[in-house]
Symmetry: C2
Subunit: 260 residues, 2 copies
DNA sequence: TTTCATAGTTCAATATATTGAACTTTGTTC
DNA sequence: GAACAAAGTTCAATATATTGAACTATGAAA
């Protein structure tokens, strides 16, 4: 999901770009925000924002409270549901997870990289009170997650460096890997081990193992992970489930045409 | 989620409206489609569609395959996740379902009405092989679903008739209620019974009970339902869980400010 | 290979969206 | 209640998006 180039004649469609910027901002904000704050934050002319927001509200992309506060509306649900329904990867993951009884008590997730974040595309939450519930569409800083680590471990160092051109993401816990250099060392260990490990980098008390899913060209296009309470995550357990996960990742990779 | 009015000065923002129409069509289509077919289906000028699609692809709202086929892209995930994260109703449902051990083996769903469909906002799928997996964002014709029946039973006959001005939705199974008049009779039975019942109208072999969630004004804003294999859905079971569900719907309604 | 139809791409004249400025409404302070 | 600042709304001149027509590329049929 790179910042793509338009190719050929440059197209602008500024209304659409601004609508997307508005929706992204509302999503990142995490709480309702006034039109004035939104307009200032995005540097839009008042009139433009006014017109755009009227239509965004009409189209159910934005919801306006009686007090005039704005938050995302429900329209995007139909598109995101359609995206997931038409994803071969998600379908393969859902099938694989439904069929695997070894994983039944644990949280299993599938995510992809989007810039410096992972985005969760499918989640099967287990019963353990991890203190975190994975949600489809949820984003986390990639270097701290088992899925992110697994995907980056399958890339060149140059590609990893390119993903983090400026400041390192804010840590999620005191255990979150603190720098790019330390991250590169972890990735080497991940490659040696065959699967990735998050030992409390996303959430204290939670441990995860992860593995990368590859496409037909061998590029890492997704990561799968399994999460545990830290108390049950002995080295033997992590290894056992790490291997299980690698097998799943391989099965998914093969369904995407990988022939490694 | 009515077709809202713009209020005040009419705003057009046609690029945005057309982008939304494109995304809706891709979502409804259910499979990848060529730009030419999409353009013809929506009656757009070729040039306009061309430009819009270039930008939609650039913004990750649409994905284009190497063969030029179009399908929804991943961008909407962040907005739909934000919408769900900021919904008091969804939050209350998630909390309620997580806390209720009576429901643990069954599929529990929360949906809202959108025109003649219900849209699922939250789903906790159980272990039973219902032959259907509820997904967030998924839509079904409302009259056949337990949640739809529950919501319509809490409306006036005029409002129900207004929701179905033209042809009756295509049945999902041979048991799907066949007409508006038959539906109105079902709604009367639902009101008498206190909860709704779908006895194979969505999927043969699956039975559901449902109840409506009301807002502070007493209007039905959502429905909750519990699904079973038909083989386990004796009248006693349906009644027991119907009552359980009504209690859940009441708790949710109260969290939305209902004081009935 | 040629022909033809369809799909995709480019471009500038025309249509209309954008937005600065003015106005109105709302909320706060004195 | 008056004064003031900020938020929200309107409107037409200006900027630019839209799109018909022309062109290019692709695929199928003969």
């Amino acid at each position: 999901m790179d910042e793509g180039e338009t190719g050929g004649a440059a197209q602008s469609v500024p209304a659409l770009r601004r609508a997307v910027a508005i929706l992204d901002h509302l999503a990142e904000c995490g709480e309702p925000i006034s039109a004035a704050r939104l307009t200032k934050a995005l540097g839009l002319p008042k009139s433009t924002a006014h017109g755009l927001l009227l239509v965004l509200v009409e189209l159910d992309l934005v919801a306006r409270s009686p007090e005039g506060l704005l938050r995302p509306g429900p329209r995007s649900l139909r598109w995101s549901n359609a995206f997931l329904a038409q994803s071969d990867l998600v379908e393969a993951f859902r099938r694989q997870v439904a069929a695997d009884e070894h994983l039944s008590d644990h949280s299993v997730t599938l995510s992809v990289l989007d810039g410096a974040d992972v985005v969760y595309l499918a989640c099967r939450n287990g019963a353990a009170p991890l203190g975190i519930t994975f949600r489809i569409g949820m984003r986390l800083s990639a270097p701290f997650t088992a899925t992110g680590k697994a995907m980056f471990a399958a890339m060149t160092e140059a590609d990893v460096r390119r993903a983090f051109p400026s400041r390192w993401p804010d840590p999620l816990t005191p255990r979150s890997v603190a720098s790019l250099d330390a991250f590169l060392k972890e990735l080497e260990a991940t490659r040696q081990r065959g699967h990735s490990v998050d030992d409390g980098q996303v959430r204290l008390g939670m441990a995860c193992v992860g593995a990368a899913v590859r496409d037909a060209q061998g590029l890492p296009v997704a990561g799968v992970a399994l999460s545990f309470l830290e108390a049950e995550a002995s080295a033997a357990v992590l290894d056992r489930f790490g291997n299980r996960l690698r097998a799943i990742a391989e099965a998914l990779s093969r369904s995407l045409g990988w022939r490694g």
